[in-house]
């Protein structure tokens, strides 16, 4: 089934169907699966144990996606290829059709590119990182499966294929997080990730049923078209369907309170964390919201649903950022940072900022992958995840250090790095859509972001080394991807400076906007420098305070990290009142607030999860032991046991003595005769 390209609203972009590369884009989706099979069956015989195939598939994808990316710059592409896999009901041409295929449009091209770019670099990095580790072959097979599932997801023209990719990603994440499954913590973390996502998937599946059956078609093109036309049946389910889809997105994109799986997911090897938390998996939820954006944008029910989504995004971005302040594990810092940044994206999309959310997704993919890989490089060198075992590494690991700093600055939103532009756009969206209060929370979040990243950099790279052995810079296989990721972390922001277009090639806004249904989000004409100043001030303040606390007097940083913060003399002398403010803020944010959130997270949310898990098991025991074995089964056993004991009692009559039987006859006969005599 092909969907006609209809300009449903004025302003819908003119689209072309693209050429060879759009027509055969499915090859990108299939390549990782081919690689998976090749790795499983041939991998062990090769020099790099199968990584060759994984990298080859990703390289092919990157070339392909880059070509599409460039083509999409000059002409917006829309192309769908569909293959029917099931068709239910053949009469009247009103069959319910399930299809697999691929869609090539602005959004999916951007995702193809990000997945391939980050994926390729992570794969190359992993060759170095996993050298000599256990089950390397299987690791690369799982990575390929992971990337492939993600491509199936983002290339999906309909909700059904999206669900297939969606849970495929979940499966691959289970395999990868639990890569060291000999330890129970790791397999439990893997289970937790899969299970939390499975809970959220109920929302996705039910949402898909609601929206799909409302119009009798599961394809995004049809749903979005119907939404843009304000189709009545879709409107009727838009609120419930929209919220259910969002619930699904909350799981994958780790929105509060379903974020709990993500920090635990750090149990996997670091390249997995980089892939999972930068370009793939966690972006799936944001992608889903963007893919079905017209449902939320054009329908009354969808708009109502958004009013519930924005606060969740805001809570996530702020509360989870605070958690990053108290983590000692460097990967956990990055994990909470990821959750917080996902909160930004979700807030943006929910507030109506289609482009803003996607742009942050785009830039975040680069610098977060960079940060994770940098952290991995450090972990590889010191054999510990804890920052209390690190320190002073900037001299030993200069390349890792510099790239990590670039990533941190980008994440902190410092001009002119990528993070500045994307975060600024989110603030602008919140401002324009009338969410001023939430905008201030987002600015406060920017402060927290800058602060915890400075802390991480200071604890890891400054001061003196507190671990064991002598750390060395990682091999080129690992540092080259770092450098390669640092480049877009710096420059990706220029792709979407408001008002700046690259000749006839448009900018990021027009590229991801190249879709059948126009995205009616607001695009500012130029950067709002007031807003930018707020964001920059927050970020700069965060870095400054962080630096003063941890970087300045590097040797005692650890002591201060445990809150025995002495009065900061230099600061006090120069800017007296600011110090008090800062200490109070820091003390509060790092102290009660963060601890409280941490406590809620550990005891309440995790407690609920564990409690529910335990409760369900108890219920299971009751149902089985009480109801099934002692109830229903007992009843059926009782019936047969009853027959059994009745037989036992009656067989006493069978004495085996002939004369007793004869006595029975005679007495019986006499009774009969008597009866006849009496009743006649």
């Amino acid at each position: 089934m092909t969907h006609l390209v209809l300009a449903v609203e004025a302003g819908a972009p003119e689209l072309v169907s693209g050429g060879f590369f759009a027509q055969w884009a499915g090859i990108m989706l299939v390549a990782p699966f081919v690689a998976f099979l090749l790795i499983v069956f041939l991998g062990k015989r090769l020099k790099y144990l199968g990584a060759e195939f994984a990298i080859g598939a990703m390289a092919l994808n990157l070339v392909w996606a880059s070509i599409l990316f460039v083509q999409n710059m000059s002409h917006g592409i829309f192309r769908e290829e569909n293959f029917e896999i099931a068709s239910i009901g053949m009469f009247d041409g009103r069959a319910l059709v399930f299809e697999l295929g691929w869609v090539v449009d602005g959004l999916s091209i951007m995702m193809y590119f990000v997945v391939a770019f980050v994926g390729l670099l992570v794969f190359i990095y992993a060759v170095g990182y996993m050298h000599g580790d256990v089950r390397v072959t299987w690791f690369f097979a799982s990575l390929s499966l992971f990337a492939g599932s993600m491509l199936i997801l983002v290339g999906s023209p309909n909700l059904i294929q999206l669900i297939i990719g969606w849970e495929g990603v979940g499966l691959a994440s289970y395999l990868l997080i639990g890569h060291y499954w000999e330890q129970k913590e790791n397999s439990s973390a893997a289970m937790k990730a899969f299970y939390t996502n499975k809970v959220a998937d109920v929302g996705l599946i039910l949402g898909a049923i609601l929206l799909g059956l409302a119009i009798g078609d599961f394809s995004f093109a049809a749903i979005n078209e119907a939404a843009a036309n304000h189709a009545e049946p879709l409107e009727a389910v838009a609120f419930a369907g929209g919220l259910l889809l969002f619930f699904g997105a909350m799981g994958k994109s780790a929105q509060f309170p379903l974020h709990i799986w993500l920090p635990d997911a750090m149990a996997g090897p670091t390249p997995v964390s980089a892939l999972m938390h930068a370009a793939t998996m966690v972006t799936a939820g944001i992608y889903l919201m963007a893919r079905t954006f017209p449902v939320y944008q054009d329908l009354v029910g969808g708009e109502a649903a958004r009013q519930w989504m924005v606060p969740i995004g805001v809570i996530t971005l702020f509360a989870m950022g605070l958690l990053a302040l108290v983590a000692d594990d460097i990967k956990k810092v990055l994990a909470y940072s990821t959750v917080s940044q996902l909160g930004y994206m979700m807030t943006a999309v929910a507030a109506g900022g289609y482009t803003a959310g996607l742009f942050h997704l785009f830039t975040h993919a680069f610098f977060k992958a960079l940060l994770f890989l940098g952290a991995g490089s450090v972990i590889h060198a010191v054999h510990s995840n804890n920052m209390s075992d690190m320190g002073g590494l900037r001299k030993e690991m200069p390349r890792t250090f510099w790239t990590f700093v670039i990533g941190s600055l980008s994440l902190a939103g410092i001009i002119p790095l990528a993070g500045f532009f994307s975060k600024d756009e989110i603030l602008a969206t919140l401002d324009h859509e009338g969410y001023q209060a939430f905008m201030w929370v987002a600015i406060a979040g920017a402060f927290v972001t800058a602060f915890y990243m400075t802390r991480a950099v200071a604890l890891t790279f400054f001061g003196s080394y507190k671990g064991h052995g002598h750390p060395h810079e990682s091999p080129a296989l690992m540092t080259v991807p770092l450098v390669a990721l640092a480049v877009p972390s710096v420059i990706a922001g220029f792709l979407n400076i408001p008002g700046v277009e690259f000749g006839g090639f448009g900018n990021f806004t027009t590229w991801v906007g190249a879709r059948v249904v126009a995205m009616g989000d607001h695009h500012p004409e130029a950067i709002d420098w007031t807003l930018a100043a707020y964001g920059l001030t927050a970020g700069g303040l965060g870095i400054l305070i962080g630096w003063l606390l941890y970087g300045k007097d590097a040797e005692t940083q650890l002591a201060r990290d445990r809150f025995e913060i002495p009065v900061l003399y230099p600061l006090l002398r120069q800017k007296y009142y600011m110090d008090h403010l800062a200490l109070g803020m820091v003390g509060f944010t790092k102290g009660p607030a963060a601890r409280a959130v941490d406590w809620v997270n550990t005891y309440v949310l995790d407690g609920i999860v564990n409690g529910v898990g335990g409760g369900v098991r108890l219920m299971g025991r009751f149902v089985y032991g009480g109801l099934d074995q002692r109830g229903i089964d007992m009843f059926f056993n009782g019936v047969s046991a009853g027959a059994d004991s009745a037989g036992l009692a009656l067989r006493r009559l069978q004495t085996g003595r002939v004369q007793q039987y004869a006595m029975g006859f005679v007495v019986g006969a006499l009774v009969l005769v008597l009866a006849i005599a009496v009743f006649n």
């Binding site: 099931a86 319910l96 397999s187 289970m191 119009i215 219920m619």
Partner: protein
Amino acid sequence: MELFESGWGLTLIVFLPLVGALVNMAIPKTNETAVKQWSLFVAVVTFALSLLLVVNFDYGAGDRFQFEMNETWISAIGANFHLGVDGISLPLLVLSTFVMVLAIIYSWDHWEEPHNPRGFLSLMLILATGMNGTFLALDLVLFFIFFEVVLLPMYFMIGIWGDKSKRRIPGFSKEVETRLYASIKFFLFTLFGSAFMLLGFLALYFKSGDFGPRTFDIPELIELGTSGAFSGTFAFLVFGAMFLGFAVKVPMWPFHTWLPDAHTAAPTVGSVLLAAILLKLGSYAFIRISIPILPQEAENWAPAIAVLSVIGIIYGSLACLAQTDMKRLIAFSSVGHMGFVMLGISTLTDVGINAAIIGMVAHGLITGLLFFLAGSMSHRYHTREMSRLGGNQKLMPVMGAILAFTAFASLGLPGLAGFWGEFMSLLGAYNPLESLRAEYLGLFRTAMVLGAIGTVLTAGYMLWMLQKVNLGEPGEEWVGHEFHDADRYELTAWVPLMVLIVVIGFYPNVVFGATTDAVVSLVNTAFGEGAATTAAVTDVLGS
């Protein structure tokens, strides 16, 4: 093809295994290789015949019975030897012949004590006749006979080759041998249901006399039924009687308690056949007999069936979480999965019934494979207690990987076969048959939500089992043991199942291609023209 057009093809598919079993008896007991080869040959030929059937089947007319054979059989009561295949029975028949081949390949090297391959294989072949016959029979008497024929071989399989341990059963004074308890329970339970089922059949037979010659013929009864011949209390009771018979076989909650015992006690191949095919006889009978002959009553009973199904889903999953025995866990998982199948049927829509059929096929493949694995593992570890297992992935990587694959398939991972049955039965429950919507829409939608929650619970126990059995370090007691990973017989039996699970997962048309027409026409004849299409889709854009 001439063989099929004449109707003899189907007869051959049904009776070839029986002939094979008889010939087996003529081969000396000591000549095991000959027995095995002959049995495998018979099974392969049967499978090949069913594949020929697949090739020759007219998919454009999947709603008709094809390759029919209709001969007078017992003229005194008007029972005919009537066989035929349509789109609904075709996938199940192929599943049956296919799994039989794999089961024989698997048992090549895996014999339970007492060692008697001839007896065991002969019983399997007799079982094949019963199963194939049930899927093809179009006459109630014939159907009943095949339905019952299945019982005996399974009874002997469990009773002779089953679990020899003894255990205490609540309500019994002495310890009972597990295999005896399980086999007798299985037999009596099913017989109990069958008695009512026979009563229902007889009632239909006598009632049909009011409208012409009395008949046991299913297509004729369908014609009578859809024209409204059976109604009122009579129809209500007849449906109830048949419901009892079929529900025990499915099994639906609360008639399921024979199943965990039978599965746990049965020898590996027995559990596989039990799970893969025997359970399908009940749900198939609902689609083939109950719904089209008594459509009015199907509507009356549908809400009750939906409720029982959902209870089965949740209840089965919860019970799984309490198990310590791996095989018993898998057995209980069947209660949940068949709950989805019955939920699909209870919606009475083409979507739901298609979901039920693909659910049956998927469950046959997946749970069959799970039982193969459980059997092979307990064969090696000599225990099925999950607390003692662990680190299986380390001891036997290939088998562990297959177990993980199958567990994910079983929890309904999209892209694998199990997904479609679950997803589509939820889809069906969202919009049940139009006439049910007025009163029961809320009930069915609640059932949908509960069913969706059931999928989460399913994921829970499957992951839990995987963690307990597969992951972690192997226990102390296994250190120093030599474990043989999956051997070539096992792989030959398992790999085709895995391939099919993936193929159906990505291309469900393999099944739907045959079933859709048949189901749509079934729903339309039973509930009026157009019932199927309106049930599938709430509304269409632009209408």
